[in-house]
């Protein structure tokens, strides 16, 4: 019944899982913010996530070591990022197209490995909830914010860290300059190639962790194409968040809360067709993006390959 939605337990449940579900968006979008700030659009996030999700799950399943799973996922993400950086920086590929290529590659390979190495859907014991003494005991608040697992906490910590790095450090200044006017940055001795390699690889690593957070911290399973478009929403969130970590956080929470709501609607058996419920976050993506159009200017050199004229 619809009235079930408004009981305290259910509301706390919706909010708590909303907070939790924002995790993969945060990792992936923060990585994408770095990339776009340096002028690189990575549309391959989804592929990197799927490979990261599989790598983490498989390692965790076979060794029982979750951290080793995360580490392997990060390595896989870094390798994907490296390949993407080579294609983007050295071969100066069209970023929209090459990104789709990386997505299809990641999806295909993760699917293949799943069939060869696992064959069926298995579960793994994921990261346990960590209770913070004192904070976790606060009624409501404790359950919503402070009874999550470690990957969730780290995802939220990334937001201020990313803001600080982008706005307060020399590295951040270089990243922004490369995304705004690479010619000028180059003339000042900033290596455009090195900065973009860095941001693309960082983006790969964070996307893979986003995937890992799904497979060994939130859902604790691996399925074919389990990200189902989440990586693309992460790209949209960067636009929505106007290239600011805090903006991305707001967007991620909005989507995850809606997602959480639709999950609970299904769980409670409220008579709304499940197809429509599942559609909600995606419809919202489109509406929000339309509303967000041209609010803030994108980095000037976004998607433009850099080449010193000769």
């Amino acid at each position: 019944m619809i009235s079930d939605l408004f009981s305290t337990t259910v509301l706390i449940g919706i909010l708590a899982s909303g907070i939790r579900l924002a995790t993969p968006y945060l990792y992936a979008s923060i990585g994408e913010v770095f990339g776009q700030k340096s002028g690189v659009l990575n549309l391959g996030i989804e592929g990197q996530m799927l490979l990261g999700a599989f790598a983490a799950f498989y390692v965790a399943l076979t060794t029982g070591n979750l951290w080793l799973g995360v580490l392997v996922a990060m390595i896989v993400g870094a390798v994907m990022g490296l390949a993407m950086a080579f294609v983007t920086v050295n071969l100066r590929a069209q970023q929209g197209i090459s990104g789709i290529g990386f997505y299809l590659f990641g999806m295909g390979v993760s699917d293949l490995l799943f069939q060869k190495l696992l064959g069926t859907v298995e579960t793994v014991k994921g990261f346990p909830k960590i209770f913070i003494p004192g904070l976790s005991d606060i009624p409501g608040v404790g359950e919503i914010f402070f009874s999550q697992n470690l990957l969730v906490y780290i995802a939220y910590l990334l937001v201020p860290i990313a803001w600080f790095v982008l706005n307060k450090t020399t590295l951040g200044l270089k990243i922004r300059s490369v995304g705004e006017n690479p010619d000028a940055a180059d003339s000042l001795g900033v290596s455009v190639a090195r900065i973009r390699y860095f941001t693309i690889i960082l983006g790969g690593i964070l996307s893979a962790v986003a995937g890992a957070s799904l497979s060994i911290a939130l859902l604790n399973v691996f399925q074919q194409n389990m990200t189902s478009g989440l990586g693309f929403i992460a790209v949209a969130l960067v636009y929505f968040g106007a290239w600011k970590p805090a903006g991305v956080l707001g967007g991620a929470l909005l989507f995850s809360m809606i997602n959480s709501l639709q999950l609970w609607i299904q769980v409670l058996g409220i008579p709304i067709p499940s197809d429509i419920a599942v559609m909600m976050p995606y419809v919202l993506t489109i509406l929000v993006l339309v509303a967000a159009v041209s609010r803030v200017r994108a980095p000037s050199a976004l998607t433009k390959p850099f080449e010193r004229e000769d």
């Binding site: 020399t170 200044l173 270089k174 300059s177 000028a184 003339s187 000042l188 001795g189 900033v190 004229e309």
Partner: protein, 499 residues
């Protein structure tokens, strides 16, 4: 710092852009480099500042041969270049722009850098706020920022590429003063321009490039006529002024009021007569842009009436104005006037009244060939517009104008063009006037305004002067007016006339 270039050669495909260039610039000299568009000036400067490498030849700094691999390398050697489009980061703060070049360590040392910046700016009497955003600065201020940064990075050779384009008269004065001061401190200044007057008033030596070759050098007093001959390989004379016409009114503005984010203008009255040229002078963003857009129907006036050929078109769209015989050529040629990626033929076909669904290729091709010939465009019917040089893009835009027209509105019609193109374009425009069109144009080049206009309107932060007779106005007067000086005398004159 002593700069010497020896046997510099550079090819772009078949074009020999720099052909065996020798140049010696002693420390403390302001060296002018003259040449028309495509003469190889920019190529030579890009070689010296590390943006491109010469095919062969040598660069010596203080008699030491150096190899310059990149712009960063150049500044390391003490060579800094100020580009025509400033190499800066518009959405960032002035200070961020400033400190980027020397960003070492984990955190930028803002405090020290801010102190350095203020001290350096004070030295040259530049009033730049380190916390303002670069996109709020004028071209002249961005230039000042760039100069400060290059000096701070240790430049001892300063290359300036067309630095007087798009800046105000007072900013130009300040720039020249700064350059003289720097030269006095032993720096070498290389001043690239196609503006003879600038070069003559500033430089201690001039080298002229033509078609990739160094064709002559001169020292003051400069033989102007000879310099022009060397630049173009022949003599060129400016067209004579025509008598102001007093035809019927094409455009009437009655008490027009305009609003911008920055200012409000009201009570503008003007009659634009057929065959007449009206120049709009003023620093960028003083209201002339809004004014010309109001004449085109692109901006809706908040008050008053706009009457075109006797028809009240107040508040109507550009489309209606266009049908009434108005054409507007904006400043950003490629962004607003031409479609990158489309060929010349496709442009001419687009501009014609469209008939049917399919493109008549042969007719379009024929049309394009005719126009290319008539307007002396260096390109083929199939050339994409972005492959044309600035002057040729401007000619293409002129060729796109329909005929007959009653009013042509132009924004910076000759910005960045060499003298030959300027003269050509104005001769084409004057032809339009003879056919009965009126022309209203914006230019930051005061000489151009006085040379080609019959009457001039001056804009200063939203104020509009009464029409001034161009033949009775001097560059100095105009310069003072656009800087906001001497407006009282203008009002007095008006009062006088009224009596």
């Amino acid at each position: 710092m002593n700069v010497e270039l020896r046997n510099i050669h550079k090819h772009f495909g078949k074009v020999h852009a720099n052909n065996d260039i020798h140049l010696n610039i002693p420390a403390g000299t302001i060296q002018g480099i003259l040449g028309e568009n495509g003469a190889g000036k920019s190529t030579l400067m890009k070689i010296l500042s590390g943006f491109i490498q010469a095919d062969s030849g040598e660069i010596l700094l203080d008699n030491q041969p150096v190899i310059i691999h990149s712009p960063a390398d150049a500044i390391h050697h003490g060579v800094g270049m100020l580009h025509q489009d400033p190499l800066d980061f518009p959405p960032m703060r002035v200070l961020d722009n400033f400190l980027l070049g020397r960003a070492g360590g984990l955190f930028p040392d803002r405090k020290t850098v801010a102190r350095d910046f203020t001290r350096l700016a004070a030295q040259f009497d530049f009033s730049l706020d380190p916390d303002s955003y670069v996109d709020s600065l004028t071209v002249g201020e961005r230039q000042q920022l760039e100069i400060l940064r290059l000096l701070w990075l240790g430049a001892r050779v300063l290359i300036l590429d067309e630095p007087t384009t798009g800046i105000s008269a007072s900013q130009k004065e300040k720039l020249f003063e700064t350059l003289r001061k720097l030269a006095g401190q032993g720096m070498s200044i290389i001043f690239v321009s196609h503006k003879l007057e600038d070069v003559e008033s500033l430089c201690g030596a001039v080298a002229v490039l033509q078609a990739g070759k160094l064709v002559g050098e001169a020292r003051p007093p400069f033989p102007t006529k000879k310099l022009v001959e060397m630049m173009f390989g022949r003599e060129i004379s400016l067209g004579a002024r025509q008598a102001a016409s007093s035809g019927r009114s094409v455009l009437e503005l009655r008490g027009v009021a305009l609003e911008d984010i920055r200012f409000q203008m009201s009570g503008i009255d003007l009659d634009v007569r057929a065959g007449e040229v009206i120049g709009l002078a003023g620093m960028e963003g003083s209201g002339q842009g809004a004014f010309i857009r109001a004449c085109a129907g692109l901006t809706r006036p908040v008050g008053g009436r706009v009457v075109l050929n006797g028809r009240d078109l107040t508040g109507k769209s550009y489309h209606v104005f266009k049908h009434g015989g108005v054409s507007f050529l904006p400043a950003s040629r490629l962004e607003e006037g031409l479609v990158p990626g489309l060929s010349l033929t496709e442009h001419f076909v687009l501009a014609e009244e469209t008939r049917g669904i399919f493109i008549d290729r042969t007719a379009g091709h024929k049309l394009a060939e005719g126009r290319i010939k008539a307007f002396n465009i260096r390109g083929t019917p199939a050339s994409p517009v972005e492959s044309l040089s600035g002057g040729n893009q401007q000619r293409a835009l002129l060729a796109l104008l329909k005929s007959p027209l009653s009013l042509v509105l132009l924004e910076h019609p000759t910005r960045g063009l060499d003298i030959e193109s300027v003269i050509y374009i104005w001769s084409k425009l004057k032809e339009r006037c003879k056919q009965g069109a009126a022309i209203v144009f914006i230019s930051s080049d005061l000489e151009e305004v006085l040379q080609y206009s019959d009457r001039v309107l001056v804009f200063f932060s939203g104020k509009v002067s009464k029409p001034l007779e161009a033949s009775k106005t001097t560059v100095e007067q105009l310069g003072n007016l656009i800087g906001g000086k001497d407006w009282e005398s203008l009002d007095l004159e008006k009062a006088h006339v009224k009596k």
